[in-house]
């Protein structure tokens, strides 16, 4: 309600400054009246213009009047003016004739206006690279060379082929697929993009696995430069793909040739063993990279911002979503290529930053609607009103609406029935409201479309009429009858009658449900005093929430105290110092050092955690908790680390480098060994930061003295996103990169004053011995032991690798499934400082959302206990997925029967308990056992 969605709109001009911007917007005409369009789709059915559907990668067609996709938001049609015959040449106009809602508006014109805002967030996204211009890959020439986006469509069950994998040229079977990686990325020669697009390795893996799933015996080969799977659970997936038989070849494919009649494609490559090979494929998939589109470039210009040479916005590691212009923030791919969770995290971080300086005007512009006093109908006899919708001709064209209405009149408790052309139109709402009042209706059934899209609208109508919003039911006679039985009008009409009867049977048993309100303690507990914890604490405290910051060690700062520079070169110690100072000075933050959480109880809004400081326990009450306990470094046993003072971990090396230790200062030859402890069978994940870190250290060493010999032994270089720039720079400076295989690891031999590293060179396929003064091990980041303890204390899940498991890997990256708990930083997964800060800011945004729940009613569809039926057997306790049921202390003990109670905040209304209870002792409001049973019975009551 407090989001005004402006589609087909561009930003024209940005004036003003932080706190008060004046933005000029321009909206292009849609030619469809949004208030009137009911998205029935009649217009598209009659539109004669077939247009390639960009949404499906051009594989399918759409009409000139169309929805971008079936679930589009807003669900309103739009006219493509370039393709519309009426707009182009004044002919046709067929849509206007069939639109019963009279939503077509040829007079629609472009309009411009200005809005006043306090902050601006830019998230214009990206476009996939267009491989058309590069002929060596043959895209656009050979039909069986497709893009990753197109394959996505072919593999989708909702797509044009219903998920069947076919050869686009002739619909023939696909037996062999090749994925070509880095198309439009890491390729300055062909596309001018030096950066890595960060997501294509993983998306190719996903598609390869899906292809395997769809066509069991299909042979899939991936041609890649470095396999970049540094995200959470990504490496495991890569391993799985290898075990599944997907072939991986480290080789850049230079060009494709058609075989015979162009149905198949042929190319030559070098195998992992260094031998030339040639192979023929049915389908070649180009894994497209990302690039900034023209709109996003224009947006930067109009907002007064500079994009970097790659077309992205440069941001500071310490303020990852702030642009150079105060008050304007950026997130998503605009600040550099990233995946969905990364974008979601940044978006929340941007929301937090944008809200941060507007704290005093919070709630000044949000709108709320006043409803009339609710009429008490609990003791009234049910008086049901039924409205049967024609949906233009969508329903009435198939179903005899009058017959259904006539039938409904004779159903028990029904006192009023009428039909309407569009039940969801604005004026019908008003009409229904008046009818409820005039006729004293106390239940409403609307026979129309889906409750998934329209229930909220009609509930509002009930509230406006002074009725409880839950005294309502929909019969979905459009999606479930007229649309799917269009060729059997008799059966559709009979079905519609059944559906109405079932809805009436259910609504008669409906009870008014009181709003559920949560009492939320605004205090925040932050566990962990590293950068993530401190950022989170400051974010919450700056908004006025009291914060308890609990840190296990004796000082704040965490792992960042051992870091010197971000990958962009910013100095970390100064940043950490200032962060610590700000946290210490903040009046709303209480710091508990040498403290640990040992016990916790409660739930969202009302947690009670016990911390132990020394020997004394301390109880803290709080509404939410942000967990940021960090991670530790792997202590290596391998590569002679225990034996030699010249074999160092990356963090040790940084320290010696910084203090000018002579091992480093006088060293002539340095060897970095990557993946020490990472990507191993016992730790099958990538530590994400080590490639970048080693390369950065190598560059610094070279910059100090270009004559130094520096070698990096790696398995895959994972300088994802814009970090690729560092990799290129290192190679240009003469850093030697040697690829080693998991099964043929390097070894370190200790000499008297030097070390000898043996490795098999991947180009020469010959053993090589490198004399080194210092060997630096890029060691893994491993989960903190505290993770396990806290997981028990707060009953939060951990993943196989021992990191915390978030609620949803893509869409809820900083929340736990248990509400009121959030996470940030290394406890979630290894990540660099900028991503840690963004995640901490995102946790703040999500926690703030929860804390503002006090003003909000929660959906009242919850389970409740019927006390005189519950006998306290407790079966429901085990099945509740949210732990929302426990023993009622009032009833327990002594002679009294034991009862259960339900926590309405935790309950989500799934009804698992209701289906388990043998006594009808627990019910889900709005979906009670009786209501469902009555629906079943009435189905056969015709």
């Amino acid at each position: 309600m407090n989001i005004e969605l402006l589609t087909l709109t561009d930003v024209e001009q940005v004036e003003g400054e932080i706190g008060r911007f004046r933005v000029k917007l321009r909206q292009r005409p849609r030619y469809v009246n949004m208030d009137r369009c009911m998205a029935c789709g009649e217009c598209a059915r009659v539109c004669p213009q077939e247009v390639a559907d960009a949404f499906n990668g051009g594989i399918t067609t759409r009409k000139a009047i169309y929805l971008r996709y079936p679930q589009a938001v807003p669900l309103k049609y739009q006219i493509d003016p370039q393709r519309c015959l009426k707009i182009q040449s004044g002919t046709c106009g067929a849509c206007e004739k069939v639109c019963q809602a009279q939503a077509i508006n040829w007079e629609d014109r472009e309009r411009s206006w200005t809005v006043d805002v306090g902050s601006i967030i830019l998230a214009p996204g990206f476009q996939p690279f267009d491989p058309r211009g590069i002929r060596t890959w043959g895209y656009g020439i050979f039909p069986n060379v497709i893009t990753s986006m197109e394959l996505e469509c072919y593999l989708s069950t909702a797509g044009p082929t219903q998920g069947r994998l076919i050869r686009p040229s002739d619909g023939g079977p696909v037996r062999k697929i090749a994925f070509v990686q880095c198309v439009g990325s890491r390729d300055e020669n062909n596309c001018g993009h030096g950066y890595c697009s960060a997501v294509c390795c993983m998306s190719a893996l996903k598609e390869a696995m899906l292809a395997k799933e769809v066509g069991g015996d299909v042979d899939v080969a991936v041609f890649f430069l470095d396999m970049r799977t540094p995200g959470k659970d990504f490496e495991r997936y890569y391993e799985k793909a290898r075990r599944r038989g997907i072939r991986f070849n480290r080789c850049r494919v230079h060009s494709l040739e058609p075989v015979g009649d162009c149905q198949r494609l042929y190319f030559r490559y070098i195998t992992n063993e260094g031998r030339p090979a040639r192979e023929t494929f049915d389908l070649v998939v180009l894994s497209l990279g990302m690039e900034t589109n023209a709109d996003a470039r224009g947006l930067a210009e109009r907002s007064g911002l500079q994009l970097n040479e790659d077309g992205f916005l440069d941001t500071s590691s310490f303020q990852p979503v702030a642009t150079e212009r105060p008050g304007i923030y950026a997130c998503g791919v605009y600040t550099g290529p990233k995946d969905i969770p990364g974008s979601v995290v940044e978006a929340s971080a941007a929301a937090m930053a944008a809200a941060g300086h507007l704290a005093e005007v919070r709630n000044s512009l949000v709108r709320s609607v006043e409803f009339p006093q609710e009429r008490d109908v609990a003791h009234e006899e049910a008086r049901v009103g039924v409205f049967v919708c024609c949906c233009g001709s969508n329903i009435a064209g198939v179903i005899d609406v009058e017959e259904v209405a006539e039938y409904a009149k004779h159903l028990p408790h029904v006192v009023h029935v009428e039909t309407s052309l569009f039940a969801c139109s604005q004026d019908t709402q008003e009409w229904i409201r008046r009818r409820i009042e005039q006729l004293g209706l106390n239940r409403l059934v609307v026979a129309a479309c889906s409750p998934r899209s329209h229930e909220p609208l009609f509930r509002e109508t009930l509230k406006n009429a002074g009725l409880n919003e839950y005294l309502f039911e929909m019969a979905n006679i459009r999606n479930q009858a007229s649309w799917v039985h269009a060729h059997a009008p008799r059966e559709a009409t009979d079905k519609a009658k059944d559906l109405v009867r079932m809805a009436v049977a259910k609504v008669v048993l409906a009870e008014p449900l009181p709003p559920v309100q949560a009492n939320v303690n605004p205090t925040v507990l932050v566990i962990g005093g590293g950068v993530a914890g401190m950022t989170a604490a400051l974010g919450m405290a700056d908004q006025g929430y009291p914060v308890h910051l609990v840190e296990k060690s004796s000082q704040l700062g965490g792992n960042a105290r051992h870091l010197y520079r971000t990958w962009k070169g910013e100095a970390i110690p100064e940043f950490v110092e200032s962060l610590v100072e700000r946290v210490k000075a903040h009046p709303y933050i209480s710091i508990y050092l040498r403290s640990q959480v040992v016990k916790a109880e409660g739930f969202l809004g009302n947690f009670r955690s016990t911390i132990r400081k020394g020997n004394s326990p301390l109880i803290l009450d709080h509404g939410v908790a942000i967990v940021a306990v960090g991670a530790t470094a792997y202590k290596p046993q391998e590569y002679g680390y225990a034996e030699s003072q010249r074999v160092l971990t990356a963090l040790e090396f940084d320290k010696l480098h910084a203090v000018g230790d002579e091992r480093v200062a006088k060293g002539r030859s340095f060897v970095f060994i990557q993946c020490v402890g990472s990507r191993e069978p016992e730790r099958p994940y990538c530590s994400r930061v080590c490639c970048t870190h080693s390369i950065q250290a190598a560059i610094e060493l070279k910059e100090e003295d270009p004559s130094r010999e520096i070698t990096i032994l790696y398995r895959d270089i994972r300088t994802y996103g814009l970090r690729e720039k560092l990799y290129k720079k290192a190679r240009e400076m003469g850093v030697v990169f040697i690829n080693y295989d998991m099964h043929d690891k390097p070894s370190v031999r200790l000499g008297p004053n030097e070390l000898y590293v043996q490795v098999t060179d991947h180009v020469l396929h010959m053993p090589l011995s490198i004399r080194a003064d210092v060997v630096i091990l890029a060691t893994a980041i491993v989960p903190h032991p505290d993770v396990k303890d806290l997981a028990q204390v707060y009953r939060i899940p951990i993943n196989e690798d021992g990191f915390f498991q978030e609620a949803h890997a893509k869409l809820r990256p900083v929340d736990f499934a248990g509400e009121g708990l959030f996470l940030a930083g290394l406890a979630h997964y290894p990540k660099p400082l900028d991503e840690t800060i963004a995640q901490a800011m995102a946790a703040v945004a999500q926690a703030t959302r929860v804390l503002s729940i006090r003003r909000k009613d929660v959906d009242a569809i919850k389970a409740y206990v019927v006390e005189d039926k519950c006998d306290g057997c407790g079966l429901c306790l085990d099945v509740c997925p949210f732990g929302a049921i426990d023993w009622d202390p009032k009833s327990g003990g002594g002679e009294g029967t034991k009862l259960v109670r339900i926590n309405a905040i935790l309950c989500k209304g799934c009804g698992s308990c209701q289906a388990t209870c043998p006594k009808d002792g627990v019910r889900v409001a709005g979906f009670t056992y009786h209501q469902l049973m009555e629906q079943v019975r009435s189905c056969f009551a015709a």
Binding site: G41, A481, A486, C910, A915, F940
Partner: protein, 129 residues
């Protein structure tokens, strides 16, 4: 196929019901014998409801939820699976062929899977007579 069957489909709000909506939007025809009852989660379907449906004369019953691992309520569909799978034996002892009862998992975008399940159920019923 003159005989008219009656199939009850309990469909979870988040996935199966959404798939049914999409089948409508896409005008994908399926047997008119199907009557959908919306539930919030497949785990909400009490075994009594299934038995009652058969008792009242249902020829087939479908319980449809999210795909495994994608349940809106964490693992409600798995719970439903555990609970309702036990019904099959019970149905057999009552003289109802267990084929008349099926659990189906589909995502909100899989209209095809939804209609397919309905078609298959009707075919099963036809073969059972």
């Amino acid at each position: 196929m003159k005989h008219r069957f009656r199939i009850i489909a309990f469909a979870c709000h988040w996935c199966a019901y959404a798939a049914a909506d999409l089948a409508g939007t896409a005008r994908m025809a399926y047997p008119a014998s199907v009557r959908i009852i919306r539930v919030l989660c497949s785990s909400m379907v009490h075994p009594h409801l299934v038995l009652e449906a058969f008792q009242r004369g249902a020829d087939g019953v479908l319980v449809m939820g999210c795909r495994e691992g994608e349940c809106h309520y964490l693992d409600g569909n798995l719970r439903a699976k555990d609970r309702l799978s036990a019904l099959e034996d019970m149905l057999e002892t009552m003289g109802i062929e267990s084929e008349r009862f099926r659990l189906v998992w589909c995502s909100s975008a899989e209209a095809e899977r939804f209609t397919q399940a309905c078609v298959e159920m009707e075919q099963t019923l036809a073969s059972l007579g």
